[in-house]
Subunit: 200 residues, 2 copies
Amino acid sequence: MSEASDPQTTGLRERKKARTRQLIQEHGLRLFREQGYEATTVQQIIDAAEVSESTFFRYFPTKAEVVLVDDFDPILVSSFLAQPPGLTAIQALRASFRDTFGALSDDETAAMKERNELVVTVPELRAAMLDQLSSTMQVLGEAVAQRTGRPPNDPAVRTLVGAVVGVAVAVELVLFDDPTADLVALLDEAMGQLEAGLRL
Amino acid sequence: MSEASDPQTTGLRERKKARTRQLIQEHGLRLFREQGYEATTVQQIIDAAEVSESTFFRYFPTKAEVVLVDDFDPILVSSFLAQPPGLTAIQALRASFRDTFGALSDDETAAMKERNELVVTVPELRAAMLDQLSSTMQVLGEAVAQRTGRPPNDPAVRTLVGAVVGVAVAVELVLFDDPTADLVALLDEAMGQLEAGLRL
DNA sequence: CTTCATCTGAAGGTAACCACCATTTCGCCG
DNA sequence: CGGCGAAATGGTGGTTACCTTCAGATGAAG
Protein backbone atom coordinates (compact mmCIF):
# COMPACT_ATOMS: atom_id res chain seq x y z
CA MET A 1 0.00 0.00 0.00
CA SER A 2 2.15 2.79 -1.20
CA GLU A 3 0.58 5.73 -2.95
CA ALA A 4 4.03 6.83 -3.94
CA SER A 5 2.94 10.01 -5.69
CA ASP A 6 0.66 11.15 -2.91
CA PRO A 7 2.41 13.42 -0.45
CA GLN A 8 -0.49 12.84 1.91
CA THR A 9 0.93 9.41 2.79
CA THR A 10 2.62 11.39 5.48
CA GLY A 11 3.60 8.50 7.71
CA LEU A 12 3.54 8.66 11.43
CA ARG A 13 6.94 10.26 11.62
CA GLU A 14 5.95 13.31 9.61
CA ARG A 15 2.82 13.80 11.61
CA LYS A 16 4.64 13.62 14.91
CA LYS A 17 7.12 16.14 13.66
CA ALA A 18 4.44 18.59 12.65
CA ARG A 19 2.66 18.06 15.93
CA THR A 20 5.78 18.70 17.97
CA ARG A 21 6.49 21.84 16.03
CA GLN A 22 2.99 23.11 16.53
CA LEU A 23 3.08 22.21 20.21
CA ILE A 24 6.21 24.23 20.81
CA GLN A 25 4.83 27.17 18.90
CA GLU A 26 1.51 27.14 20.72
CA HIS A 27 3.05 27.14 24.15
CA GLY A 28 5.63 29.66 23.09
CA LEU A 29 3.08 32.14 21.81
CA ARG A 30 0.89 31.65 24.84
CA LEU A 31 3.74 32.32 27.23
CA PHE A 32 4.89 35.31 25.22
CA ARG A 33 1.46 36.79 25.47
CA GLU A 34 1.13 36.09 29.17
CA GLN A 35 4.54 37.26 30.30
CA GLY A 36 6.16 39.11 27.45
CA TYR A 37 8.78 37.92 25.04
CA GLU A 38 11.98 38.70 26.88
CA ALA A 39 10.51 37.57 30.17
CA THR A 40 9.80 34.14 28.76
CA THR A 41 12.76 31.77 28.70
CA VAL A 42 13.04 28.84 26.35
CA GLN A 43 13.28 26.76 29.49
CA GLN A 44 9.69 27.66 30.30
CA ILE A 45 8.61 26.86 26.79
CA ILE A 46 10.20 23.44 26.74
CA ASP A 47 8.79 22.71 30.19
CA ALA A 48 5.32 23.57 28.99
CA ALA A 49 5.68 21.72 25.70
CA GLU A 50 7.48 18.82 27.35
CA VAL A 51 10.34 18.58 24.92
CA SER A 52 14.06 18.86 25.44
CA GLU A 53 16.06 21.98 24.83
CA SER A 54 17.86 20.30 21.95
CA THR A 55 14.57 19.56 20.29
CA PHE A 56 13.42 23.11 20.68
CA PHE A 57 16.44 24.46 18.90
CA ARG A 58 16.23 21.85 16.17
CA TYR A 59 12.78 23.11 15.31
CA PHE A 60 13.38 26.80 15.88
CA PRO A 61 16.97 27.87 15.28
CA THR A 62 16.29 30.94 17.36
CA LYS A 63 13.76 31.91 19.98
CA ALA A 64 12.41 34.67 17.79
CA GLU A 65 11.55 32.24 15.00
CA VAL A 66 8.72 30.95 17.14
CA VAL A 67 6.79 34.06 16.19
CA LEU A 68 7.60 34.10 12.51
CA VAL A 69 4.60 32.28 11.15
CA ASP A 70 4.90 32.78 7.45
CA ASP A 71 1.88 34.67 6.45
CA PHE A 72 -0.48 35.57 3.69
CA ASP A 73 1.93 37.20 1.27
CA PRO A 74 1.73 34.58 -1.51
CA ILE A 75 -2.04 34.29 -1.30
CA LEU A 76 -2.35 38.04 -1.35
CA VAL A 77 -0.13 38.37 -4.38
CA SER A 78 -1.87 35.74 -6.47
CA SER A 79 -5.24 37.19 -5.56
CA PHE A 80 -3.99 40.62 -6.52
CA LEU A 81 -2.69 39.49 -9.88
CA ALA A 82 -5.99 37.77 -10.60
CA GLN A 83 -8.08 40.90 -10.16
CA PRO A 84 -9.85 42.21 -13.28
CA PRO A 85 -7.69 44.56 -15.36
CA GLY A 86 -10.13 47.45 -15.19
CA LEU A 87 -9.25 48.28 -11.61
CA THR A 88 -6.61 50.71 -10.49
CA ALA A 89 -3.77 49.31 -8.43
CA ILE A 90 -5.33 50.49 -5.21
CA GLN A 91 -8.72 49.14 -6.09
CA ALA A 92 -7.20 45.79 -6.97
CA LEU A 93 -5.25 45.71 -3.73
CA ARG A 94 -8.35 46.58 -1.80
CA ALA A 95 -10.26 43.79 -3.49
CA SER A 96 -7.56 41.21 -2.88
CA PHE A 97 -7.37 42.14 0.79
CA ARG A 98 -11.11 41.71 1.01
CA ASP A 99 -10.99 38.40 -0.81
CA THR A 100 -8.07 36.97 1.10
CA PHE A 101 -9.07 37.87 4.61
CA GLY A 102 -12.77 37.60 4.03
CA ALA A 103 -12.42 33.98 2.97
CA LEU A 104 -10.80 32.83 6.18
CA SER A 105 -12.55 30.33 8.40
CA ASP A 106 -13.56 31.39 11.88
CA ASP A 107 -10.67 29.49 13.33
CA GLU A 108 -8.20 31.11 10.99
CA THR A 109 -9.61 34.54 11.68
CA ALA A 110 -9.39 33.97 15.40
CA ALA A 111 -5.84 32.68 15.15
CA MET A 112 -4.80 35.63 13.05
CA LYS A 113 -6.34 38.10 15.42
CA GLU A 114 -4.74 36.33 18.35
CA ARG A 115 -1.37 36.59 16.75
CA ASN A 116 -1.88 40.18 15.64
CA GLU A 117 -2.91 41.22 19.08
CA LEU A 118 0.12 39.54 20.55
CA VAL A 119 2.44 41.24 18.11
CA VAL A 120 0.81 44.61 18.64
CA THR A 121 0.75 44.37 22.40
CA VAL A 122 4.25 43.11 23.16
CA PRO A 123 6.91 45.58 22.12
CA GLU A 124 9.59 42.98 21.62
CA LEU A 125 7.41 41.18 19.15
CA ARG A 126 6.54 44.23 17.16
CA ALA A 127 10.21 44.34 16.38
CA ALA A 128 10.12 40.85 14.93
CA MET A 129 7.34 41.97 12.65
CA LEU A 130 9.25 44.65 10.82
CA ASP A 131 11.42 42.30 8.85
CA GLN A 132 8.34 40.56 7.63
CA LEU A 133 6.87 43.96 6.79
CA SER A 134 9.72 45.06 4.60
CA SER A 135 9.65 41.71 2.88
CA THR A 136 5.94 42.19 2.31
CA MET A 137 6.65 45.60 0.80
CA GLN A 138 9.16 44.01 -1.50
CA VAL A 139 6.82 41.27 -2.67
CA LEU A 140 3.83 43.55 -3.07
CA GLY A 141 5.98 46.05 -4.90
CA GLU A 142 6.99 43.46 -7.46
CA ALA A 143 3.38 42.44 -7.97
CA VAL A 144 2.21 46.02 -8.41
CA ALA A 145 5.05 46.71 -10.81
CA GLN A 146 4.16 43.67 -12.85
CA ARG A 147 0.49 44.56 -13.01
CA THR A 148 1.06 48.16 -13.99
CA GLY A 149 3.92 47.46 -16.34
CA ARG A 150 6.31 49.64 -14.42
CA PRO A 151 9.82 48.88 -13.20
CA PRO A 152 9.88 47.39 -9.69
CA ASN A 153 11.91 50.28 -8.36
CA ASP A 154 9.57 52.93 -9.68
CA PRO A 155 9.16 55.56 -6.96
CA ALA A 156 5.43 55.72 -7.56
CA VAL A 157 5.14 51.99 -7.02
CA ARG A 158 7.13 52.17 -3.84
CA THR A 159 5.07 55.04 -2.55
CA LEU A 160 1.85 53.19 -3.20
CA VAL A 161 3.05 50.04 -1.49
CA GLY A 162 4.44 52.00 1.43
CA ALA A 163 1.14 53.74 1.94
CA VAL A 164 -0.83 50.50 1.74
CA VAL A 165 1.38 48.64 4.16
CA GLY A 166 1.46 51.62 6.48
CA VAL A 167 -2.30 51.74 6.48
CA ALA A 168 -2.48 48.02 7.17
CA VAL A 169 -0.19 48.43 10.15
CA ALA A 170 -2.21 51.36 11.41
CA VAL A 171 -5.33 49.23 11.22
CA GLU A 172 -3.65 46.44 13.14
CA LEU A 173 -2.67 48.90 15.81
CA VAL A 174 -6.35 49.49 16.46
CA LEU A 175 -6.27 46.21 18.35
CA PHE A 176 -4.26 48.01 20.95
CA ASP A 177 -7.30 50.08 21.85
CA ASP A 178 -10.08 47.77 20.84
CA PRO A 179 -9.35 44.04 20.76
CA THR A 180 -12.75 43.27 19.31
CA ALA A 181 -12.35 45.37 16.18
CA ASP A 182 -13.29 43.92 12.82
CA LEU A 183 -10.00 44.25 11.01
CA VAL A 184 -11.28 43.25 7.60
CA ALA A 185 -13.95 45.94 7.57
CA LEU A 186 -11.59 48.57 8.94
CA LEU A 187 -8.95 47.74 6.41
CA ASP A 188 -11.43 47.95 3.56
CA GLU A 189 -12.66 51.29 4.73
CA ALA A 190 -9.13 52.60 5.13
CA MET A 191 -8.20 51.51 1.62
CA GLY A 192 -11.19 53.36 0.27
CA GLN A 193 -10.03 56.45 2.06
CA LEU A 194 -6.54 56.02 0.65
CA GLU A 195 -7.93 55.91 -2.82
CA ALA A 196 -9.89 59.09 -2.25
CA GLY A 197 -6.73 61.03 -1.44
CA LEU A 198 -7.00 61.17 2.33
CA ARG A 199 -8.83 64.47 2.36
CA LEU A 200 -9.00 65.72 5.89
CA MET B 1 42.21 62.58 24.77
CA SER B 2 43.95 65.89 24.42
CA GLU B 3 41.44 68.34 23.19
CA ALA B 4 42.04 72.03 23.45
CA SER B 5 40.31 72.57 26.76
CA ASP B 6 37.55 75.05 26.39
CA PRO B 7 36.84 77.02 29.48
CA GLN B 8 33.38 76.43 30.86
CA THR B 9 31.01 77.19 28.05
CA THR B 10 28.00 75.28 29.19
CA GLY B 11 29.88 73.20 31.67
CA LEU B 12 32.74 71.06 30.54
CA ARG B 13 31.26 68.05 32.21
CA GLU B 14 28.11 68.22 30.15
CA ARG B 15 30.03 68.55 26.96
CA LYS B 16 32.30 65.62 27.76
CA LYS B 17 29.29 63.55 28.57
CA ALA B 18 27.66 64.38 25.28
CA ARG B 19 30.89 63.70 23.49
CA THR B 20 31.36 60.31 25.11
CA ARG B 21 27.83 59.38 24.32
CA GLN B 22 28.23 60.38 20.73
CA LEU B 23 31.54 58.53 20.50
CA ILE B 24 30.04 55.28 21.67
CA GLN B 25 27.12 55.69 19.35
CA GLU B 26 29.28 56.46 16.34
CA HIS B 27 31.49 53.46 16.77
CA GLY B 28 28.54 51.28 17.59
CA LEU B 29 26.66 52.22 14.48
CA ARG B 30 29.75 51.86 12.33
CA LEU B 31 30.44 48.37 13.63
CA PHE B 32 26.81 47.39 13.26
CA ARG B 33 26.93 48.41 9.65
CA GLU B 34 30.22 46.65 8.97
CA GLN B 35 29.47 43.37 10.71
CA GLY B 36 25.81 43.27 11.56
CA TYR B 37 24.14 43.93 14.86
CA GLU B 38 24.22 40.53 16.48
CA ALA B 39 27.72 39.88 15.26
CA THR B 40 28.98 42.99 16.99
CA THR B 41 29.72 42.62 20.69
CA VAL B 42 29.70 45.50 23.12
CA GLN B 43 33.28 44.50 23.81
CA GLN B 44 34.17 45.55 20.27
CA ILE B 45 32.30 48.80 20.67
CA ILE B 46 34.01 49.74 23.89
CA ASP B 47 37.38 48.78 22.43
CA ALA B 48 36.77 51.04 19.46
CA ALA B 49 35.37 53.89 21.53
CA GLU B 50 37.98 53.42 24.24
CA VAL B 51 35.63 53.42 27.16
CA SER B 52 34.97 50.83 29.83
CA GLU B 53 32.11 48.39 29.82
CA SER B 54 30.64 50.10 32.86
CA THR B 55 30.59 53.38 31.01
CA PHE B 56 28.93 51.83 28.01
CA PHE B 57 26.06 50.48 30.04
CA ARG B 58 25.77 53.68 32.00
CA TYR B 59 25.07 55.53 28.79
CA PHE B 60 23.07 52.87 27.03
CA PRO B 61 21.09 50.60 29.35
CA THR B 62 20.91 48.09 26.55
CA LYS B 63 22.86 47.40 23.41
CA ALA B 64 19.84 48.07 21.25
CA GLU B 65 19.50 51.58 22.65
CA VAL B 66 22.58 52.56 20.70
CA VAL B 67 20.38 52.71 17.63
CA LEU B 68 17.54 54.65 19.21
CA VAL B 69 18.68 58.15 18.36
CA ASP B 70 15.95 60.38 19.59
CA ASP B 71 14.43 61.73 16.49
CA PHE B 72 12.64 64.56 14.84
CA ASP B 73 9.21 63.86 16.21
CA PRO B 74 8.85 66.99 18.35
CA ILE B 75 10.25 69.30 15.67
CA LEU B 76 7.99 67.72 13.13
CA VAL B 77 4.93 68.13 15.31
CA SER B 78 5.51 71.76 16.15
CA SER B 79 6.22 72.55 12.54
CA PHE B 80 3.05 70.76 11.55
CA LEU B 81 0.91 72.62 14.02
CA ALA B 82 2.38 75.91 12.84
CA GLN B 83 1.36 75.42 9.21
CA PRO B 84 -1.26 77.85 7.87
CA PRO B 85 -4.83 76.71 8.51
CA GLY B 86 -5.82 76.71 4.86
CA LEU B 87 -3.95 73.52 4.12
CA THR B 88 -5.35 70.03 4.29
CA ALA B 89 -3.75 67.66 6.76
CA ILE B 90 -1.67 66.01 4.09
CA GLN B 91 -0.56 69.31 2.63
CA ALA B 92 0.44 70.51 6.07
CA LEU B 93 2.34 67.31 6.77
CA ARG B 94 4.08 67.59 3.46
CA ALA B 95 5.09 71.15 4.19
CA SER B 96 6.38 70.33 7.65
CA PHE B 97 8.45 67.46 6.31
CA ARG B 98 9.92 69.80 3.77
CA ASP B 99 10.59 72.48 6.38
CA THR B 100 12.05 70.15 8.96
CA PHE B 101 14.36 68.10 6.79
CA GLY B 102 15.15 70.88 4.37
CA ALA B 103 16.52 73.01 7.16
CA LEU B 104 19.14 70.53 8.27
CA SER B 105 22.80 71.35 7.99
CA ASP B 106 24.96 69.27 5.71
CA ASP B 107 26.39 67.43 8.67
CA GLU B 108 22.98 66.65 10.04
CA THR B 109 21.74 65.49 6.68
CA ALA B 110 24.75 63.25 6.25
CA ALA B 111 24.36 61.81 9.73
CA MET B 112 20.70 61.14 9.18
CA LYS B 113 21.35 59.45 5.88
CA GLU B 114 24.11 57.38 7.43
CA ARG B 115 21.80 56.22 10.14
CA ASN B 116 18.93 55.56 7.78
CA GLU B 117 21.12 53.54 5.49
CA LEU B 118 22.35 51.50 8.40
CA VAL B 119 18.88 50.81 9.67
CA VAL B 120 17.67 49.91 6.21
CA THR B 121 20.60 47.67 5.41
CA VAL B 122 20.97 45.64 8.58
CA PRO B 123 17.93 43.47 9.27
CA GLU B 124 18.45 43.33 13.00
CA LEU B 125 18.36 47.08 13.17
CA ARG B 126 15.21 47.48 11.19
CA ALA B 127 13.55 45.67 14.04
CA ALA B 128 14.72 48.22 16.54
CA MET B 129 13.10 50.91 14.45
CA LEU B 130 9.56 49.65 14.69
CA ASP B 131 8.94 50.72 18.25
CA GLN B 132 9.99 54.19 17.33
CA LEU B 133 7.72 54.03 14.31
CA SER B 134 4.63 53.18 16.27
CA SER B 135 5.46 55.91 18.72
CA THR B 136 5.80 58.32 15.81
CA MET B 137 2.40 57.21 14.57
CA GLN B 138 0.98 57.92 17.98
CA VAL B 139 2.47 61.40 18.23
CA LEU B 140 1.61 62.37 14.69
CA GLY B 141 -1.87 61.03 15.16
CA GLU B 142 -2.44 63.27 18.14
CA ALA B 143 -1.20 66.28 16.23
CA VAL B 144 -3.40 65.58 13.24
CA ALA B 145 -6.37 65.01 15.49
CA GLN B 146 -5.76 68.29 17.23
CA ARG B 147 -5.39 70.21 13.99
CA THR B 148 -8.50 68.75 12.40
CA GLY B 149 -10.60 68.82 15.54
CA ARG B 150 -11.18 65.09 15.49
CA PRO B 151 -10.78 62.53 18.24
CA PRO B 152 -7.29 61.00 18.36
CA ASN B 153 -8.64 57.52 17.74
CA ASP B 154 -10.60 58.52 14.67
CA PRO B 155 -10.10 55.79 12.06
CA ALA B 156 -9.61 58.38 9.35
CA VAL B 157 -6.82 60.00 11.33
CA ARG B 158 -5.17 56.67 11.91
CA THR B 159 -5.38 55.76 8.29
CA LEU B 160 -3.84 59.02 7.22
CA VAL B 161 -0.98 58.74 9.66
CA GLY B 162 -0.43 55.10 8.74
CA ALA B 163 -0.19 55.99 5.10
CA VAL B 164 2.20 58.86 5.71
CA VAL B 165 4.51 56.86 7.93
CA GLY B 166 4.37 53.93 5.53
CA VAL B 167 5.34 56.20 2.68
CA ALA B 168 8.19 57.63 4.71
CA VAL B 169 9.50 54.15 5.40
CA ALA B 170 9.17 53.20 1.77
CA VAL B 171 11.20 56.25 0.83
CA GLU B 172 13.86 55.32 3.32
CA LEU B 173 14.03 51.87 1.79
CA VAL B 174 15.15 53.47 -1.45
CA LEU B 175 18.55 53.77 0.18
CA PHE B 176 18.80 50.04 -0.14
CA ASP B 177 19.04 50.39 -3.90
CA ASP B 178 20.48 53.84 -4.23
CA PRO B 179 22.53 55.19 -1.31
CA THR B 180 22.88 58.56 -2.98
CA ALA B 181 19.17 59.29 -3.22
CA ASP B 182 17.86 62.68 -2.15
CA LEU B 183 15.41 61.64 0.53
CA VAL B 184 13.88 65.04 1.05
CA ALA B 185 12.93 65.42 -2.59
CA LEU B 186 11.66 61.87 -2.84
CA LEU B 187 9.58 62.24 0.27
CA ASP B 188 8.05 65.45 -0.98
CA GLU B 189 7.17 63.87 -4.28
CA ALA B 190 5.70 60.83 -2.58
CA MET B 191 3.54 62.99 -0.35
CA GLY B 192 2.21 64.77 -3.37
CA GLN B 193 1.31 61.47 -4.88
CA LEU B 194 -0.44 60.43 -1.69
CA GLU B 195 -2.53 63.53 -1.80
CA ALA B 196 -3.55 62.83 -5.37
CA GLY B 197 -4.98 59.45 -4.44
CA LEU B 198 -2.21 57.19 -5.64
CA ARG B 199 -3.68 56.78 -9.11
CA LEU B 200 -1.76 54.11 -10.94
C1' DC C 1 15.93 -7.77 12.45
C1' DT C 2 18.38 -3.90 10.55
C1' DT C 3 18.75 0.73 9.57
C1' DC C 4 18.15 5.23 10.11
C1' DA C 5 15.94 9.37 11.74
C1' DT C 6 14.64 11.69 15.74
C1' DC C 7 14.69 12.78 20.75
C1' DT C 8 17.09 13.34 24.91
C1' DG C 9 20.36 14.70 28.63
C1' DA C 10 24.36 16.74 29.87
C1' DA C 11 27.97 19.75 29.53
C1' DG C 12 29.90 23.82 27.88
C1' DG C 13 30.59 28.40 25.30
C1' DT C 14 29.49 33.12 24.72
C1' DA C 15 27.79 37.53 25.47
C1' DA C 16 24.56 40.76 27.54
C1' DC C 17 23.95 42.83 31.71
C1' DC C 18 24.60 43.96 36.84
C1' DA C 19 26.65 45.02 41.62
C1' DC C 20 30.32 46.81 43.89
C1' DC C 21 34.20 49.44 44.90
C1' DA C 22 38.55 51.94 43.61
C1' DT C 23 40.18 55.70 40.88
C1' DT C 24 40.12 59.71 38.32
C1' DT C 25 38.17 64.04 36.88
C1' DC C 26 35.59 68.13 37.30
C1' DG C 27 32.93 72.11 39.67
C1' DC C 28 33.25 75.09 43.04
C1' DC C 29 34.20 77.80 47.06
C1' DG C 30 36.72 79.35 50.64
C1' DC D 1 44.76 78.65 43.77
C1' DG D 2 44.31 74.74 46.24
C1' DG D 3 41.63 71.46 48.12
C1' DC D 4 36.97 69.20 48.93
C1' DG D 5 32.63 67.03 47.56
C1' DA D 6 30.32 65.22 43.63
C1' DA D 7 30.21 62.99 39.51
C1' DA D 8 31.99 60.24 35.98
C1' DT D 9 34.88 56.28 34.89
C1' DG D 10 37.21 51.85 35.29
C1' DG D 11 37.87 47.10 36.71
C1' DT D 12 36.45 42.71 38.67
C1' DG D 13 33.58 39.01 39.32
C1' DG D 14 29.18 37.09 38.82
C1' DT D 15 24.54 35.80 36.91
C1' DT D 16 21.55 34.51 33.37
C1' DA D 17 19.93 32.84 29.02
C1' DC D 18 20.57 31.79 24.33
C1' DC D 19 22.54 28.47 21.65
C1' DT D 20 25.88 24.46 20.38
C1' DT D 21 27.60 19.81 20.42
C1' DC D 22 27.54 15.09 21.01
C1' DA D 23 27.02 10.40 22.70
C1' DG D 24 23.48 7.37 23.46
C1' DA D 25 18.37 5.95 23.94
C1' DT D 26 14.04 5.30 21.39
C1' DG D 27 11.06 4.15 18.01
C1' DA D 28 9.53 4.16 13.04
C1' DA D 29 10.35 2.06 8.32
C1' DG D 30 11.60 -1.50 5.24
